[in-house]
Amino acid sequence: MIHAESPALEIVNLRKNYRRIEALRGVDFELGRGECLAFLGPNGAGKTTLIRALAGRTRPTKGTIKVFGHPIDSIGARQALGLVPQDLALYGDLTTRENLMAFGKFHGVPRRELKKRIDWALQWTGLTDRAKDLVGGFSGGMKRRVNLACGVLHRPKIILLDEPTVGVDPQSRERIFTMLDQLNDEGASILLTTHHLDEAEQRSDRIVILDQGRVIADGTIDELVLSTVGHSRLVRVRVDRPLTAPVTVPGDGVQRRTVHVGEAGRDLIETRIDDVTVNLGPFLQAVQNDGYLVSDMEVQAPSLHHVFLHLTGNELRD
């Protein structure tokens, strides 16, 4: 059933139109086996449409989705997928165990294995002592964990997570990612959509950024940084008084050229420095030479946040 060479997910030229609106405009990417891929994009970029198409909940207008080399509508393909939706799609008037049992059955977990899987899920989510409590009375973090467990009870090889940590506290978020790491270590491929860029950066092997229905970036964090904002550091220096004129940082005639930084009337100077070890000293010296005292300083390494804003812009996407 599973092709040895094929990726876990292979999406080719995927398009989806809702009447006149093009939600997906030819999306291409792959999810490798055992890979954890973060799928990013501003609001309305098409992330949820893509997840729905992968989960078989919407029919693409065009393009193909292959699961381990097989079309998504082939027998067994759906069984290989586990969806964890953004909304808490649970029965609040059922207990944790009853919810797990229901979704386990719907996912086709054999009856003889169901109890074992439920016990595993309860232990995995840390909710063994709350197995008989109604889910409706749980905290947001606990509900999220049950939501996650219901989607993976059948041990899918590919897990689709749509904003799995939205609205939960840092402790619950940490717990959820520990749970996901465990599944990933056991060989599951993970496709995660999130707006928490730090999560995506820290927890994923690769990042795909979608905007206006198209993939605009695909690679590791280093690759994305290099291809967009580069490795230069952002340096912010606060001085003791507003500048009377921009500060002149002289070049050395070899590597550095002379630049003017800061704006008259502001006490904050921002600049980008390619090599901190070489350029930071001359920059601070130039500030001091102009008669200002440095009251605070911050050096920022390029992050996914910078890459994301660089690629998608600062405009609101409502």
Partner: protein, 396 residues
């Protein structure tokens, strides 16, 4: 208050339903009891007449009753005038006619009548009794007049000559009897006379069917809840198909409705003396089929609506209207012919007719065939339409 009003104004369907529900419900009752659709179509009581007297007077009574605006003589429709009293009694028992009028010889030349009635229709008995009583009194008066004329024409006797001032004597038979119609007409209940508290079973059935419908639409509404909280989306992303989902809900609602009605009738048996055990086969058949039809109806309404609010409004209108027309609230025999015909478009009417055959008329299970068939067809039909409507939820 402003907030609530603004929210109501923004929800056009809820706004519509807020005012349409009471109007719709009021209209149905106005049509049943008022002068609306039912105007000029006062319900005619279906009767057959067995003339055991076969005299000119009894023939005149039959003719007069035939022309009565309140009766529909079924002898002509059935084209079989050779009815025996037993045949007529069976017809009443089967519900083919409401009352059988048996004209019998009374004392002397007088005619009296037995009305073989179905006591479940309490109005018909009184109406027919009054009409027949009137005709019998007229006939009796006619007989008395004839007898008087006969006496006047008779040649004078010695006795009469001897007592010239004595008034003309009435014929003994006529003079001895009263002209009170109630003494000339006797109502015989051919169905309910040997039953313990039989009418309660009919009310139980009426209420049960109405609550089955409410229960089924409430249960069907779970689909809309699941859709609104995205659980439906999640369910359909598993191996579960929409066919399985709908069938599962249909089986569940049918079973729940069946148990609900059973519990109600068991209570009725112990507290109100309904003979449930004596009619178990017919009861089980009717309840199973009625529950399944109600469950399918609930799913149909749920898939027809977009939100729970819409479903609540629509279901209240439809169920109360169907219950009113179908006889769950008001017995159908008080309705005009037209309203009764209209009632046959509701499955309350078919279900109640079935329960009526089981508990009231003591008919065998095969007599339930029309009711079972209609309810089963309704169940399958509603389920298929619900499935077709649910296609829109399967994919975007």
């Amino acid at each position: 208050m402003q907030l609530s009003l603004r929210r109501l104004l923004h929800n056009r369907i809820e706004l519509l339903l807020t005012f349409v529900v009471p109007i719709a419900f009021f209209s149905v009752f106005a049509l049943i009891f008022g002068n609306g659709i039912g105007s000029g179509t006062t319900p005619k009581v279906k009767v057959v007449i067995i003339d055991e007297v076969q005299s000119p007077d009894s023939t005149a009574i039959v003719e007069s009753l035939r022309n009565s605006a309140g009766l529909r003589l079924m002898n002509d429709d059935l084209q079989d005038e050779a009815f025996s009293v037993n045949d007529a009694s069976d017809m009443v028992r089967h519900g083919s006619v409401t009352i059988a009028i048996v004209l019998k010889s009374g004392q002397g030349e007088s005619i009296r009548s037995d009305l073989l009635a179905d006591a479940s229709d309490q109005v018909a008995g009184q109406v027919v009794s009054a009409l027949v009583g009137r005709e019998l009194v007229i006939a009796k008066t006619r007989q008395a007049a004839r007898a008087r004329r006969t006496l006047v024409r008779r040649p004078p006797t010695d006795e009469a000559t001897a007592v010239p001032n004595q008034p003309v004597r009435q014929p003994p038979a006529v003079a001895a009897e009263s002209l009170d119609p109630s003494e000339l007409v006797q109502i015989v209940d051919v169905i309910g006379e040997d039953k313990a508290n039989p009418v309660v079973s009919m009310y139980a059935a009426g209420i049960a069917v109405m609550f089955l419908l409410f229960g089924a639409t409430g249960g069907g509404g779970v689909l809309l809840d699941e859709r609104e909280n995205t659980t439906l989306d999640r369910l359909l992303s598993t191996e579960l198909t929409m066919d399985q989902l709908l069938l599962g809900k249909w089986f569940y609602l049918t079973a729940l409705g069946f148990v609900q009605v059973c519990v109600m009738f068991v209570w009725g048996q112990y507290v109100f003396g309904i003979d449930l055990l004596g009619h178990l086969d017919g009861f089980v058949m009717m309840t199973l089929v009625t529950s399944s039809a109600a469950a399918a109806f609930g799913l149909f309404l749920a898939t027809l609506c977009k939100t729970r609010g819409q479903l609540n409004g629509l279901s209240v209108i439809l169920i109360l209207t169907m219950s009113a027309l179908g006889g769950s609230m008001v017995p159908r025999y008080v309705m005009s012919e037209r309203m009764r015909e209209l009632g046959l478009w509701t499955f309350n009417a078919w279900a109640l007719d079935g329960y009526d055959k089981v508990f009231w008329r003591d008919l065998p299970a095969d007599a339930l065939l029309p009711q079972l068939a209609v309810l089963m067809i309704a169940a399958v039909g509603f389920l298929l339409v619900a499935r077709a409507l649910a296609i829109r939820w399967e994919f975007d």
